[in-house]
Subunit: 409 residues, 2 copies
């Protein structure tokens, strides 16, 4: 985490009296919540609510400065004020955020077009890509281990039914990806952004394919190599500690799960050109990514505190990957509710280990990550975020599956 000074204590509420000014600001803030049954509670306990209905939860504001910040720059300040304990949520955190998302408190401002433009124009050097990835992924295996599944899959799972366990749902996701790619023994696969290696290891051990997996995070590559050795498949899967743009050669399949979010729209065309270069004329590629239903800027707080350089594209924006590179889309599936459920699992595990996180990394860090996971769940649950799996091939490739599955929808 870059900027939250560790010395900043999580704060206590103000002891100053509430003034008429404070009440006006609180009322304006409550108005922003629209029809969400969410109130604004001041440090003296006074409650403000725009909508007539019963308040189901409220934001408890610690002091005047916080109140003003929330009114003027909510999409950034909510996160930082929450991390410092200057905002508390009385009520269920996920439900409150979902209500706020649904009722569009955080709907993009008139300036959001500029923010989207900035996201689009940002070209990422390999150096920036490495530093961005490290900011997020080099927080330490021990941290992610606390709340991810055993194989450390840090992307949307696929739940055949909603009561599938997280471990099984992550296995099902990996299998879904492999089946969409139509993998057959003896084929070659290149993975762009391989996380802790679970997909690459699974493809090599279960599908008998040969895998080269690229990842800029040293710590993840070390972990992945260790697991390949233990599984005695290090002859079939090679983890390369390098930028995906340095991948060379031709492969039967190209796969990228949860990396496009770090690529940035300014690089989509060259990302697609790279896929096209790596792809055998009869091969298939799959891109799995968080997306939007329309272009929206990355939340300022997430961008600053969690994912520097992160951007989730709309399918229209993603067409820049495929169309200029003569890649034809065969199949798109939106797994939005699967990601909401994945995040619910992660958040539950995180909360079970919350005191360990706070001890290791500080209370503000624990609050930041709890909010990040809860807000992500709310974002998928409310339709602000989506999860796209896109399968593509060269436009003229006729070596494609005839149907998805016999007669299936």
């Amino acid at each position: 985490m870059k900027t939250l000074a560790r010395s900043l204590a999580v704060s206590a509420p103000s002891t100053l009296p509430v003034t008429g000014f404070d009440r006006r600001i609180a009322a304006l803030l409550a108005l922003r919540f629209g029809n969400a049954a969410v109130g604004v509670a001041l440090w003296n306990g006074e409650m403000f609510c725009a909508n007539g209905a019963a308040v189901e939860s409220s934001l408890r504001i610690a002091d005047r400065a916080t109140l003003v910040k929330l009114l003027t720059r909510p999409s950034f300040e909510f996160g930082d004020c929450y991390a410092r304990g200057l905002v508390e949520v009385d009520g269920d955190l996920v439900a409150t955020l979902t209500a706020l998302f649904v009722h569009a408190w955080t709907r993009p401002s008139p300036w959001s077009g500029l923010a989207t433009l900035r996201d689009r124009l940002t070209l990422r050097s390999k150096r920036t890509a490495r530093s961005n990835a490290r900011h997020h992924y080099d927080l330490g295996n021990d941290f992610y281990r606390l709340w991810l599944d055993q194989r450390m899959l840090y992307s949307c799972a696929y739940f055949p039914t909603p009561d599938t366990s997280l471990e099984d749902a992550q296995s099902a996701k990996i299998d879904l990806v492999c089946r969409k790619l139509g993998l057959r023994a003896g084929q070659s696969v290149v993975e762009l952004g391989s996380g802790w290696g679970a997909l690459a290891l699974h493809m090599a051990s279960r599908y008998g394919v040969k895998v080269r997996a690229f990842n800029v995070s040293q710590e993840q590559v070390a972990w992945s190599r260790e697991h390949a050795r233990r599984a005695e498949i290090d002859g079939r899967v090679e983890f390369v500690a390098d930028d995906y743009r340095n991948a060379r050669g031709r492969y039967d399949a190209v796969v990228s799960v949860g990396m496009l979010e770090a690529v940035g729209p300014g690089n989509y065309r060259s990302f697609g050109a790279h896929i096209a270069r790596l792809l055998d004329p009869a091969g298939r590629a799959l891109v799995h990514t968080i997306g939007r239903h329309r272009p929206l800027p990355t939340n300022a707080w997430i961008r600053r505190r969690i994912f520097p350089g992160g951007y989730a594209p709309s399918l229209g924006e993603m067409s820049a990957i495929f169309e200029p590179n003569d890649l034809a889309i065969l199949d798109i599936e939106n797994l939005r509710l699967h990601y909401a459920l994945t995040l619910q699992h992660w958040l539950g595990r995180f909360r079970a280990e919350r005191s360990a996180v706070a001890r290791q990394k500080g209370e503000d860090f624990a609050r930041t990550w709890e909010l990040y996971l809860a807000a992500s769940q709310a974002s998928f649950a409310s339709g602000w975020s989506h999860l796209y799996q896109v399968v593509c091939t060269r436009a003229a490739n006729n070596a494609i599956a005839w149907t998805r599955v016999s007669g299936g929808v």
Copy 2:
């Protein structure tokens, strides 16, 4: 058919001697075919071929004027010259066209960007839409009856296996659409562009839903109503002889199969707004359309002789339907090879009835339609055209299917 004068006899080859000029033009033309094993044969029998390999088929050119036209404006003149018998294909017509498409003889010229722009800027009044549709669909039920399936489905079929019959594949297509929409008895459906009514009739009779179907072709609406009466479901399905833009109300499902091709990219945003207005907050919409893997102008000959106002969009262009209207895409399937096979069936049936068509409508008409069907098959087979089924819903709608089909890809 608008312009091919019926008096124009299908022509005989020139009796003039072949000159050095003719040979140079023929050689240039052959060069354009790239690596396709297709030759250029002049009226005296001389053959030109750019590529060293054996020629598998050839274009036999009747005279000098045709030769020059093919060099200067191939994408339009090939069709018209073929219709008049000024070009003959010695060899399999579909295979020859596929080879030419694959080897990019008709790759868009530097001016194609302008043509695409024109396609994009064209706004269609309801009057133009009606006249365009009539040009194509009011050729007469008797004509389409000769070569379509019994229920007159004039859009891509879905073949569970490649040897499924056309009739069964059209039934399977209709069922695929209904299952993707998740239809349940008692629901309401609006269909935008209903052809000869087979989908509407099937939904009403097999799925127990109530359907309103819009179509500007009087002849098709009359046919559809007659079939609804005969099936005694005219209480559950209403065919409205009107522009889809005049549809009102709220429906559980909105479906449009094979109409977007006539909407025009300039109207996509309002087409999507119309879908969003008609769609219940928990409803689903499906758009089934011919598309491209990247923006490409409509072939000039198709545009003039077959489909005035026709345009097949890329998925990136189609995002203008969904993104500005807060519609989220749930599912996209590309059925390209299914359309190639559908067209193979249509062409086979058409050829079996070719002499009847020529008697009814003239030899030039028969040649025009044979070429149109063959070129369409070649276009899907070579990856120049695609077929997209897109399922969407309001972005925040959580009443969506959990998985496509248990564990299916």
